[in-house]
Symmetry: C2
Amino acid sequence: MALIVQKYGGASLATPEKFLYVADRIIKEKKKGNKMVVVVSAPGDTTDNLIEFAKKITKNPAERELDMLMATGEQQSIALMSMALISKGYKAISFTGAQIGIITDKKYTSARILKIKGVNKIKNALAKDYIAVVAGFQGVTEDEDITTLGRGGSDLTAVALAKALNADVCEFLKDVEGVMTANPEIVKDARKIDYLSYDEMLEMASGGAQVLYNRCVEFAKNYNIVLHVRGTFTDKPGTIIKKEDKKMEKVVVSGITYNKNEAKITILNVPDKPGIAAFIFTKIAEADINVDMIVQNISQKGTTDISFTILKKDLEKIEKVLSVIVKNIKAKGYLMDDKIGKVSVVGVGMRTHTGIAAKMFKALAAKKINIEMISTSEIKISVVVRADKVDTAVKVLHDAFNLGKRNIKSEKI
Amino acid sequence: MALIVQKYGGASLATPEKFLYVADRIIKEKKKGNKMVVVVSAPGDTTDNLIEFAKKITKNPAERELDMLMATGEQQSIALMSMALISKGYKAISFTGAQIGIITDKKYTSARILKIKGVNKIKNALAKDYIAVVAGFQGVTEDEDITTLGRGGSDLTAVALAKALNADVCEFLKDVEGVMTANPEIVKDARKIDYLSYDEMLEMASGGAQVLYNRCVEFAKNYNIVLHVRGTFTDKPGTIIKKEDKKMEKVVVSGITYNKNEAKITILNVPDKPGIAAFIFTKIAEADINVDMIVQNISQKGTTDISFTILKKDLEKIEKVLSVIVKNIKAKGYLMDDKIGKVSVVGVGMRTHTGIAAKMFKALAAKKINIEMISTSEIKISVVVRADKVDTAVKVLHDAFNLGKRNIKSEKI
């Protein structure tokens, strides 16, 4: 018997039929004798529709009131899910964030959980054989103002509850069967990864495999909570994400990820003086623009080119900033390029295996794919290539590192 | 400067435009220097849509969860209304029933308010010049379970807040300009009533003028809270409902109401023995059927006919009960008639004026309208007539008692 926290996203809760299906999925685990805590997001497009209604009233809704509004979606889901479970003959009880005292800071629309005060309410319900259904994404300040946790907030609720309840596992039910070695739409023989370390999951996510939000994985890493990404529509185990162990290290490369949402900026002929890079990236941060990869080569004749990538959606915003920067540091100018893509190879085994980078570059070269930027971390190598070469690069690398289904045996050891 | 509680129904909040319109209406009062507390219902059809979704999951949703679900509608309204007010440059803050501690009993879907614990939150907001926007229809139990107050629940929230805050007036904003002497769809020169006593309003409502729910009026009567029913789309004063005073007594008849939703049941040849009537109406009450008028004539040859009216929607339900009753009390049988209507004349002046009933019956007789049942209270006389005669009866009585616009001067004194 285990204590399981399960989290279901809004897409799994778009219709009455889906609520009933998910209820059966929960009951399946309950029947095995497990104690079940279920975290749900708002049904289907509910949150989007609410925001749309609000934006018709005012373009900039007051944030406290926006949270008050958005929190209703998850409250609907907990009520509907509890009804579904009860209608199937099981004891179930819903809780809002306020009711179980998910206390957050006052940063409306992107609050951080500080503590869970009323976790005993859930423990008592579980002790009486209830399935506890908890609203994701929401909390309250100490003054009882309703807050929301921002993107991926329901994932965070689930993992925070798993910690507070000392759960055995925190499961994320998805419409995919787990984390894949590569996007199956690009790589036909992509396969499900059985185990990932927290760091690998973080690198996979930042590389574009948006299965779990990083805030959630970081929280799980900090408190050593076992995560399980699995399919809503299958009983098969999915991908377990947990503390790194020996078995994982034997797998050199776990997966290939990519990202086509970034653009490359190059500032030309930057004077090579201390403090210049700091100046550039402070200005960019002040404009609330996130920078991903940064590459600076050795200096020639006292100047150097600095390249970095940002999200395409920030391109318009950065133009003003760049003009200011170029003028201030007396650079020659800047280039913007939105026809690029990033491809990454991720795996904890890289730490102990050599030659991964070489193998990666060689595989790409064989297909005449030019590498425009390179950036590496301990367990990831990322390259920037032309946008129209991304799919080929992913396929080539997936093959080069033997990640396909046909290689399952040799990979697993 | 006054403290005003205003209540807006869901029909006034169906679209973003309507939220903005109502915000202006609130600001108009605020600008006069009044302290404003606004109670809102769920936007448009929100509650109905939620219930419909729930019923697709299960025909009998668990009541605790149904309240959890329904309460989200009003929460949306308070958030949206506060946004609208803030966007127009005013300070506004929303509160759920839980946040201001509207404590109720545990009777889910039709809970009763026991007390308002957190009224100081509203007082503090008002002191800081905020417009307080409060969710109608909802409360919480002492254990923080969310409850709803049943039909007319938002009206009740408004009047309970008016009491707790010692408000000067509790306003109900409607798409009509006030309580009318008769339904203007039937009587062309029907006019708005300026003043009504609580009892008159109660009799008007039970007669079919569903402007305010009786629970709300009874509460106001108990605590002597001045109610004001007025139009959302006009600045003119509407109908003030307050403690009876001399001025009101001079108005003999305040209005004519009618109800076409009832059916008449007659139990034939009921043995005239003590306890029989009690048996009949206990059985009917046990089946959860509401009885309105009851008429029993003098007994002839040891038996009597007992007639009463019920809502048409309960007709199917009562058939089974009637068979049991007839068999048990050895009556001859029963008749059901759904082609009837009830017409009532209401006015506190009846207490001191004689001949009102005679005048009423005479007016109806002159139009050859047959009276099938009569029932009287201190300030109301109701008759049952054929359904197709109801409109004529209302018109005739409106004229007979000089309630039309052309008589305003003679009426007002």
